[in-house]
Symmetry: C2
Subunit: 405 residues, 2 copies
C-alpha cells in the first residue's frame, strides 16, 4: 500500500529546487536548478539501495533488482519543468516510481523482474528542441551526436550544458532492453477534473508538430515609411499566427494551435521589425488532419511573407505521429483502477510524454490523475493528495503484476 503522505512530501521537497518566489518551479533542462533537482533525486534513489546509471544523454535510471536477472519493468517521467511550471508535471511519475520501490522494500517484496525508475532529459522541450529528447535518444529515435548539438533557446549547446552540470554519463543509449514501461502523470488538461473522474486510462498520445518560422524583412522608420513600401517581418508573423489560430478554431476542437513564442528585432516602438522569430505548436489525434493543417499553415506563411515582401525560413522542431499504447497494458490499467473502486475514463493524451518514445521499444501504458481546473505549465498547477495516492497505487499494482509475470 502506497504511503501518500510520504509521496506528497517528496514532491514538495523536489519542488524546492528551482522554486519561484510566488510559487511554482523554474527547472528548465540542464540549468543549475535542474542539476540540483537531479542531485536530490539521485540521492533518493541511492538511499533506496537502487543501482543508478546516468547515460550519455543524461537520463538517470535506477534499478531495484528482481529475483531473476530479466529485462526490467520500468516506470518514470522527467524532472525538468517549463520556465513557470508546477510541482507535479513529470515529477509525479518519477517520485511515484520511487514510492513504489519504497513500498516494495518496506514490505520485503522482491518481484521476479527488476523494477527500474527513470528520469529522462529535457522532456519539456522548452529549453532544447524537440521535447521528449532524452527518451527519444534512449530508444534510438535520434542520434546522440545530433541531440548533443541541439542549441538552447538561451544559446549554449545541449552537450556542453550536460557536461557543465556533470550529467554526461557513460551508460549507452539507443538499444534499451526493457520489459515494459508505465508512466503516471497528471492529465494537464481539464477533462478528468471537469467530469469528476479519478483515473484516466490513456489510450495514446496525439500527434505533435512544432515549427519555427523566421520572417526577415527590413527595419525602417514607423513614421516615414508608407504601408505599401514596408517589409514588416513582425506583421507577417502576427498575421500567420492569427491564421493558425483561426484554422484550429474552425475545426471545432480537434485541432490545437499555439504560438507561445515570438521575438521581434529590434523590438522598438517606432522601428518596423526587421525580423520575427516565432514558433507554432500544432496538435491533433488524427495524423492526416494534422498533416493537412501543417501544409495549410506553411502555405499561408509563404503567401503572407510574399505579400509583405519578407523572406521566410521554416525549421521543424518536433514532429511526432500520434501513438497508440499497448492494448493489453491499457486494459490492465483500467482493470486495476476499477478493482480499486476508482472511476475511470479512457482518453488520449494532449501532452507529449516520454511514454510515447518508450512505446517504440516495449509495451507501454500511462495512468492519468486529474489536474485541478486543467491548469499545467502554470505555477498554480495542482493535483490533490488523494488523487496522487490513487494514481501511485494503480502504478504499484500494474507494475507488480507485470514484474511477477
Amino acid at each position: 500500500q502506497i504511503n501518500t503522505e510520504r509521496l506528497v512530501a517528496s514532491l514538495l521537497e523536489l519542488g524546492t529546487h528551482g522554486a519561484l518566489p510566488g510559487g511554482g518551479v523554474n527547472r528548465l533542462a540542464l540549468t543549475d536548478a535542474d542539476r540540483a533537482g537531479r542531485d536530490w533525486t539521485v540521492a533518493q534513489m541511492r538511499a533506496l539501495g537502487m543501482q543508478v546509471e546516468i547515460d550519455a544523454i543524461g537520463n538517470g535510471i535506477a534499478t531495484y533488482a528482481g529475483s531473476e536477472d530479466l529485462p526490467p519493468v520500468m516506470c518514470g517521467s522527467h524532472i525538468d519543468t517549463v520556465r513557470t511550471g508546477g510541482l507535479y508535471d513529470g515529477n509525479l511519475g518519477v517520485l511515484a516510481g520511487l514510492e513504489v520501490v519504497r513500498t516494495l522494500k518496506d514490505a520485503g517484496v522482491r518481484p521476479r523482474r527488476p523494477i527500474a525508475v527513470a528520469f529522462f532529459t529535457n522532456e519539456e522541450g522548452s529549453r532544447f528542441q524537440p521535447d521528449m529528447l532524452g527518451s527519444l535518444v534512449y530508444v534510438g529515435g535520434l542520434p546522440l551526436a545530433e541531440a548533443l548539438a541541439a542549441p538552447a533557446v538561451d544559446g549554449p549547446l545541449l552537450g556542453d550544458e550536460l557536461a557543465r552540470i556533470g550529467y554526461a554519463g557513460s551508460a549507452p543509449v539507443g538499444q534499451p532492453v526493457v520489459d515494459s514501461y508505465f508512466e503516471l502523470h497528471i492529465e494537464q488538461g481539464p477533462v478528468l477534473d471537469q467530469q469528476g473522474i479519478q483515473i484516466g486510462v490513456v489510450e495514446g498520445v496525439q500527434g505533435i508538430y512544432w515549427t519555427r518560422l523566421v520572417f526577415t524583412g527590413k527595419s525602417n522608420h514607423a513614421g516615414t515609411t508608407p504601408m505599401a513600401l514596408r517589409a514588416d517581418a513582425g506583421m507577417a508573423a502576427m498575421r500567420t499566427a492569427a491564421f493558425a489560430h483561426q484554422l484550429a478554431e474552425q475545426t471545432g476542437g480537434r485541432q490545437l494551435a499555439t504560438v507561445g513564442s515570438l521575438e521581434l528585432v529590434p523590438n522598438l516602438v517606432n522601428v518596423i521589425a526587421a525580423q520575427a522569430r516565432m514558433t507554432v505548436d500544432l496538435r491533433n489525434t488524427d495524423a492526416a488532419a494534422l498533416a493537412q493543417v501543417r501544409a495549410q499553415l506553411h502555405a499561408f506563411a509563404a503567401q503572407c511573407a510574399q505579400e509583405h515582401g519578407v523572406q521566410l525560413e521554416a525549421e521543424t522542431l518536433a514532429d511526432f505521429d500520434p501513438v497508440a499504447f499497448d492494448p493489453a497494458l491499457v486494459d490492465s490499467v483500467e482493470q486495476h483502477a476499477r478493482a480499486a473502486g476508482c472511476s475511470t475514463l479512457r482518453l488520449p493524451s494532449g501532452a507529449g510524454h516520454d511514454a510515447q518514445m518508450l512505446a517504440r521499444v516495449c509495451p507501454t501504458a500511462m495512468i492519468f490523475v486529474p489536474s485541478i481546473d486543467g491548469l499545467s505549465h502554470n505555477v498554480r498547477e495542482y493535483t490533490p493528495p488523494a488523487d496522487i495516492g490513487r494514481g501511485a497505487q494503480i502504478l504499484l499494482q500494474v507494475m507488480l503484476e507485470r514484474a511477477n509475470r
Copy 2:
C-alpha cells in the same frame, strides 16, 4: 560657404561612438555610448569657443555670441539613436549647426543675434517614452519631475541614468527665450529620393500616437488546453496587431500603423502566453482621422481581449497633435533653396522631430535632405555628401538672415 568634407568627416567621427560591428550605430539615450557621443560633441562645441550649458533634462546648448545680447537663433536636433540606427538621423542637425558656426567663425562673421546649437535628450523615444522628451521638457510641455521618472525599456529611471552618465545639468528648463528654431534633418522616408528632389521644405509634422497594450491571460499547456478554454494573451495581442495594420491599409496610405515591439511571457513553444506586452504606433497628418483610428484600435483590443478571456490595460506613451511650422520661415527655406538652384518640394514630416516642440515657443522651420531608398532607423541609412552640403548651406543662409534681422 559650408565645408562639406569637414561636416561629413565629423558625422563619421561621431558615428564611431556606439558603432555596431556590421555598420550603423547603437546610441540609445543615456547609455554609455550616448555619454561618449555627448562628451565628443561638447568637446567640439568648446573647441569652437562656444559657451555650453547642460540643462536639468540633459539637453546641451552651445552659444556663439552675437554682436547684441538678444534671444538666439537656434538650430539643433539629437544625437541619440535607435538600437540599430544610422549615422545621420539627428546627428546631421547638430553637426550641421556646428559647421554653420565654424563657417561663420572662419569667415570672421559675427551676426547680430547669437547662434545657438542644441542637442536634445531622448528624441528617439526608443529607450524612454515619449519621444522628443528633452525638447518637450525644454519648452515646458512636460514637467521635469515626470520626465525624470520615466522608466527605460530596460528598467532604470531616466533621472538616474542622466545622473549616472553625468548629464544632469543645472540650466533651467521650461521657459526658453529663443528667437527662432531651424532643424536640418534627413527625410527618413522615400519621397525626395524617389522624385529626385534635393531639398524638402517641411510644412509640419504629422500627429503621433503611441500606446502600450498589455494583455494578461493565463499560461497553460499547449497540448491539453482546448481552444475554447484558453486565455491566450499572445493571440489577443497578435489579432489586435493585425487589425491595426488592416485599418491602416484600408485608408489607402494616409494612416500609418506599426507594431514594432511585442513580448510574450513566458515565451515558450508549448506554453500558452500568460502575458503579451505590445506597442502600437499610429500616425496621420489629419488629427480627426487619427483620433478615429485610435478609438477603433482601442475598441477592437477591448473586444478581442474579452473574446479571449484576457484582461487588457492600455497606457499612452506619446500623444502629439499634428504641427504646422511658421509660414514665413517655411517660405524663407524655400526661397533660399531655390536661389541656390536646388529642386524643392513642400512636404509634411512623417517622423517626429524636436522642431515640433520648439514650434510651441518660437517661429520654427525644418529642412529635409534625401534618404537613399527611404531607409532610416536602419544601419544602412545613407545620405550622400552633396545632399548634406546643400542642406547645411541652406541652414547657414536662413539662420544668418534671421540672425541679422
